[in-house]
């Protein structure tokens, strides 16, 4: 198996594939049923540490919002 690769998906989860081990905060193995997993990073998933797509409902953004346009006429 290849070395682990983590894809930081724009506005979405961390996609992890390759050779890696997933453990809880206490070092217990987290059961994983598929080779490639998506890890929640919006904090709203109901199946953490995995992603369940909820980031789409909470408007999670990974990129900084575009700089506000400067309007010289604004008071």
């Amino acid at each position: 198996m290849h070395a682990a690769e983590i894809v930081a998906c724009i506005d979405g989860p961390l996609l992890v594939r390759g050779d890696f081990e997933l453990v809880s905060a206490t070092g217990e193995p987290v059961e994983r049923t598929r080779r490639t997993v998506a890890l929640c990073r919006c904090g709203a998933s109901a199946i953490k540490p995995f992603c369940d797509g909820t980031h789409k409902l909470v408007g999670f953004r990974t990129e900084p919002p575009p700089a506000p346009e400067v309007d010289d006429d604004a008071s």
Binding site: V7, A38, I47, C51, G53, L57
Partner: protein, 374 residues
């Protein structure tokens, strides 16, 4: 000598050479499917007789219909013709798969269906042929919307019978889940091909046949007391639900439509995790256990992975490799949303009016079988 002959006879083996192919568990819905089903009971050798005038019958049906996606006869015929490639739809002489008459029939219906989809699909802004731009455009097209949906209805309101109807409707595709997209694997290259294979390996259970998604769904059907053999309830399924499946089979089986297939699959995966969560909740609300909800729960996690790979690497990777396919990628995604939207709209309308979402022309014995186990 006898042995050599029977080996040479191939798939249309001795016991079937007299035309004894089993009748399918579903009925014709008009002249096209009627002639096709009758012909498939007999060997290809009788095609001159059994399919006499068939191209004319199809041409007439195509002229007369004003809505192929909701045309019972044409959609059923197309499902049967695709079924010759898949297997397990009709018991028939295997030579029918590439018989010139059946191939011509399939292409004639597909071309008209594709034309109708292209005419009716809403135009969507085309992203640059860049993987992130394509993924972002697909996520935008498929973003969750508030308001009524079949999944919300199942979560909150569905009766036991309505929940079972949902599973019957879904079985047309899901008993063959992922197979339609597998057709397109050899038509892709590089990043897009690797992405599709990565998704499909997971769909097919990652080496464990019992975890194959179609097998998990079949278990859900059995747990609900439903027959999991393909086509057992096809008579109960309206044309528009069949169209959802024939559309993806058409996209998968035609190399020319590989862009549409990739876009369709991405949109399908992107609209799966959140609704499956609600569907699982609906079946739990009705008192079903893990044996029934496993299918839906599995898709919450699986499709949150698949949607990222399908958007960025399958559709996005294909767009970077073949920029001319960007319009078809977006067409496939928009067609998926449109046709599945029509089917869902119909189901909701019937349920909200207190009617069955299944076809009324359901055979009495099949209806009895459905009611008996409920």
């Amino acid at each position: 000598m006898e042995v050599a002959r029977s080996i040479g006879a191939g798939s249309s083996g001795a016991d079937r050479s007299e035309g004894r192919f089993a009748a399918p568990p579903f009925s014709a819905r008009g002249p096209v499917s009627e002639q096709l089903l009758a012909a498939l009971r007999r060997p290809t050798a009788d095609a001159d007789e059994t399919l006499a005038g068939f191209s004319g019958t199809i041409a007439d049906a195509l002229t007369q219909t004003d809505d192929i996606a909701r045309d019972d006869d044409l959609q059923l015929a197309l499902l049967i013709l695709h079924g010759l490639h898949y297997g397990s739809v009709v018991d028939a002489d295997e030579d029918w798969e590439w018989h010139p008459e059946t191939v011509a029939a399939r292409v004639a219906i597909e071309r008209a269906f594709e034309r109708e989809l292209r005419d009716r699909v809403s135009s969507v802004p085309l992203p640059a042929p860049d993987a992130e731009a394509v993924a972002s455009a697909l996520f935008e097209l498929t973003k969750p919307t508030p308001g009524p949906s079949v999944a919300r209805f199942v979560a909150k309101h569905a009766t036991n019978e309505q929940a079972r109807e949902y599973v019957v409707l879904r079985s047309v595709y899901t008993l063959k889940e992922a197979d339609a997209q597998t057709w397109s694997i050899p038509r892709l290259n590089g990043r897009a091909k690797a992405a599709l294979v990565e998704i499909q390996a997971d769909e097919y259970g990652g080496g464990r046949p019992e975890r194959m998604h179609s097998a998990i769904f079949a278990r859900t059907m059995r747990e609900l007391g439903l027959d999991d053999s393909y086509g057992a309830y096809l008579d109960a399924v309206p044309a528009i639900t069949i169209a959802s499946f024939t559309m993806m089979s058409m996209f998968g089986l035609n190399r020319r439509l590989r862009g549409a297939s990739a876009g369709h699959y991405a949109a399908y995966e992107m609209t799966s995790s959140l609704p499956n969560r609600m569907l699982g909740d609906g079946f739990r609300r009705l008192g079903y256990g893990e044996e029934v909800t496993d299918y839906f729960d599995e898709h919450v996690e699986a499709d949150a992975v698949h949607e990222q790979i399908a958007g960025r690497d399958l559709a996005g990777g294909l767009a970077e490799h073949e920029p001319s396919l960007v319009p078809d990628i977006m067409f496939g995604a928009a067609a998926s949303m449109m046709v599945d939207g029509w089917a869902a709209e119909r189901t909701l309308q019937e349920w909200e009016a207190g009617r069955s979402a299944l076809r009324q022309a359901l055979h009495a014995d099949r209806r009895a079988a459905l009611e008996e186990v409920s």
